[in-house]
Symmetry: C2
Subunit: 585 residues, 2 copies
Amino acid sequence: MPQLRLALAQVNPTLGDLAGNADLVLESCRDAAARGAHVVAMPEMVINGYPTEDLSYRASFIEATRRCVDDLATRLQADGLGDLVVVVGHLDTYAGTVPERLGLPKNLPTNTASVLTGGRVVARYDKHHLPNYGVFDEFRHFVPGQETQIIQVGGVDIALAICEDIWQDGPSDAARAAEAGLLLVINGSPYEAAKDDMRLQLCARRATEANATLAYVNLVGGQDELVFEGDSIVVGPDGGIIARAAHFEPELLIVDLDLPAATAPMPGPETRFGGLRVAREVITAEPFPAYPPEPPPPMPQRWDDLGERYQAMVHGLRDYVRKNRFRSVLLGLSGGIDSALVATIAVDALGANNVYCVSNPSEWSTEHSKSDAADLARRQGLHFDTVAIAPMFQAFQDALQLDGLAEENVQARIRAVIWMGLSNQHGHLVLACGNKSELATGYSTIYGDAVGGFAPIKDAPKTLVWKLARWRNELATLRNETPPIPEAIIDKPPSAELRPGQLDTDSLPPYDLLDAVLDAYVERDLGSAQVIAEGFDPALVERVIQLVDKAEYKRRQYPPGPKISKRNFGRDRRVPITNAWREHL
Amino acid sequence: MPQLRLALAQVNPTLGDLAGNADLVLESCRDAAARGAHVVAMPEMVINGYPTEDLSYRASFIEATRRCVDDLATRLQADGLGDLVVVVGHLDTYAGTVPERLGLPKNLPTNTASVLTGGRVVARYDKHHLPNYGVFDEFRHFVPGQETQIIQVGGVDIALAICEDIWQDGPSDAARAAEAGLLLVINGSPYEAAKDDMRLQLCARRATEANATLAYVNLVGGQDELVFEGDSIVVGPDGGIIARAAHFEPELLIVDLDLPAATAPMPGPETRFGGLRVAREVITAEPFPAYPPEPPPPMPQRWDDLGERYQAMVHGLRDYVRKNRFRSVLLGLSGGIDSALVATIAVDALGANNVYCVSNPSEWSTEHSKSDAADLARRQGLHFDTVAIAPMFQAFQDALQLDGLAEENVQARIRAVIWMGLSNQHGHLVLACGNKSELATGYSTIYGDAVGGFAPIKDAPKTLVWKLARWRNELATLRNETPPIPEAIIDKPPSAELRPGQLDTDSLPPYDLLDAVLDAYVERDLGSAQVIAEGFDPALVERVIQLVDKAEYKRRQYPPGPKISKRNFGRDRRVPITNAWREHL
């Protein structure tokens, strides 16, 4: 059987930074060539970053991308890497004609994989299955490819596919029918909890269906609300795992494969599978000279269920800060669990020296809140300052004489003005500390605690916030470090401290019940009757659903934050603000 | 030729209010029956409101809708309206099977037209062309219908279509092939400037293609960022206009039509046109007894280009307030043109008694700002109050010692805290007064002047704001009323008044130039080279594009407001926040 040394480059591009991303590709190719690789696969849209959204309508952006890909081929050749076969994902335009359709961008954008070798682009594949659900809008942004692409390298037929292509039926059958030895899939597959397990199963199933080895390369890093976890994988035709790359970190994964020699006529006559024309391109028909294969790298350590979610938040925040050219963040440290977790994530993402916390005690702030916040700041070594809000509060109340909820909210908003003032003065990115339970129920003050440029825990329900805090402390203990979050913060009953003796449970059901109902209503989209059928109290269910429905306007103005669940408040769940529909009992 | 009296019910449903919307249908049917109509057509999704977005995934919502439609048929019969043929649009689920696809909602939602008569639903048509561009996401929310539906009423074959179906090629040919006498199109077609002219041309073209009379019924009213302008139309097979309904207002448009007798076999064998099966349902094969036709109603007065945009803002605001159960609005009246126009729109939408304005002068506020604001308040008779911000500003500065931009922004944010405090205390909806030029360039203070639940002029560039103000004053003059906006407000150079002598032109290019560049870059999505090729100064173009690209994070947190342009900042333009792509010169 012909041998092939394959490099999967799990990298972290920046959306829109064509030059920087091309450099990332070049660097990966140099490393891969130095390690003897024949083929280097880069992730989906590595040149542009993913997702490009409506930038796919911008002709100037696509033209610049095409120039960038052509230049990359030339640079690879000039650098003595012309023998490498490099597969890169990028935005392009469809080369054929498609039926006229209203709303179709004139330039017919495609989500493309180009094959670079010998200083040229020698083949291309356009993504065929365009996801248009969850966070994806690819039917809006691309036209689907109409061709399967087989490239022959070292006497092995390699079928190309892009991400969604293997989540839908078809391409693996086409690869089997074309008798490809390797199905190479480039991906921009965003993180959500436990998706890695699903992904491994899927790769195994498609490899078996294709009767081919399957190599899957994914992005790492954050892009607005999405985080890519890497988790690149190679599985054999029997579905058995051959190699797997790091979780959330960049890696150049190199595997030696013995693959069946190409059997189909090459270049053959035009053939079709499942309506798709099969394009074939011979790059090298002869097997590479035999060499001693290296054993696959050891399987990397993987994060557990809590760890992976925590990592997604850390990487999501780190990349939002870095890619938007901030250096530091600022948040209000209240002494409660939410801001404690956000501060800890920020320190893990950016280092304590880049994290600025402010305590803004009011008349109703408890002593333990102030001392717990100070304790956390000491443990983590972050910047900590105190600005009391009493003088501003007095000035507003002299003018407005507010009471009730209005009086409570004004305190939260004074804090926001302080944070934003410090942000404007010193250039810190403000972090919002709201959790998903709070976002769901609208239990926050809009333009108060809800302000910020990024919201690291917005997709974590409150019960998960506690679990993550305990998990992070346990990790510290395992590492013989001081637990970053004071136990008192984890143990105390949650309170907004906007009036004397206030507790969250004055306004909300206990969080374990609340989060269970939210899981049914928000994540699983059940109607009230179905939620109740799961055993919840009808009055509780109705109350929670009403809160969720009424808070949509607040969620629309909330900052972005990393998606970690199957259905985040963002692209995953798009509901009207004006909505008189009420689930009835 | 058989006669048919057709009623087009241009109504304003509320999203999710199934019972209220069913009552609207019933009321229209009573009126139509009293006026002798045979067929009543209601707009797209009239039962649910439009667009339902991800509510189409909610099984409980679809089931409630189906019950509502069945009940409606029963109620029509019980009310003695069982002979009427009533076409209503609503959410439903697909009755057939479709190929499995990842992300396809299990319940297979459809955008459906049901035909109600004799106490039952006798036929249905599922929208075939699903728009997935601009503000539309229907490929996400629905599965496409696979059948053309012809109903025979009074011996006339009527083909059904829904909105996008006539914007794409196909259905008019199918109607022609099926030899339908009438093509009945129910619509939820959102307003944008000059779309009515396009719509009339389109209807004329499709009628000619179908060789049939075409009746087009549209929604009116606001739903979040969309406004529906009505503009229901009937055109003959020669493309000539027969009748047209009011612009932006509800109307029951009744027309008497002489239509060709059905010629195709009925019920015929299954036939197909363009891949679609043709379903036929005979309701009444005999022509109705002859009656003296009434002349079509006189053509309604239509708003001119400025007037229609102003009306869209008025109706968008009015419905957002009403449908979200607010009674009153509050805004900061600065003495500048933006807040002056918003106040005027609010008074036109809600009446002066429901509009509360606050002046929040600072140290840098000019005398003319204060007096101009007071003059506007007097002219319009709205509530007007003054809360100076000096004491709060002093309290913040004592604690924070901010300078530069940070010091400017704190003033804008103090105002926001005041507005939100008054909103919380008294239940007013706060209006944000930003215009599209400001949103584009980020020339606003986030959590300052950008706060609010609704933003009536967010899709109007600054140059249009001035034109609309002048237009509104001229309308008042024509009506022998006092012009609502003091000339001094329209004539003065714009300033944020956050530091002494500040003018917008210190930070921005002159608005006529700015708006022209924004039109090229935002509305038409040109790259910088193309914009410059239109004759603009390269440095100016680069500066404007940089401002736009950097302000995306602010736009994401901006309140919703009525779409009046081809491409609003909202569903129409979806770009990443994290985006290193810069148009180069």
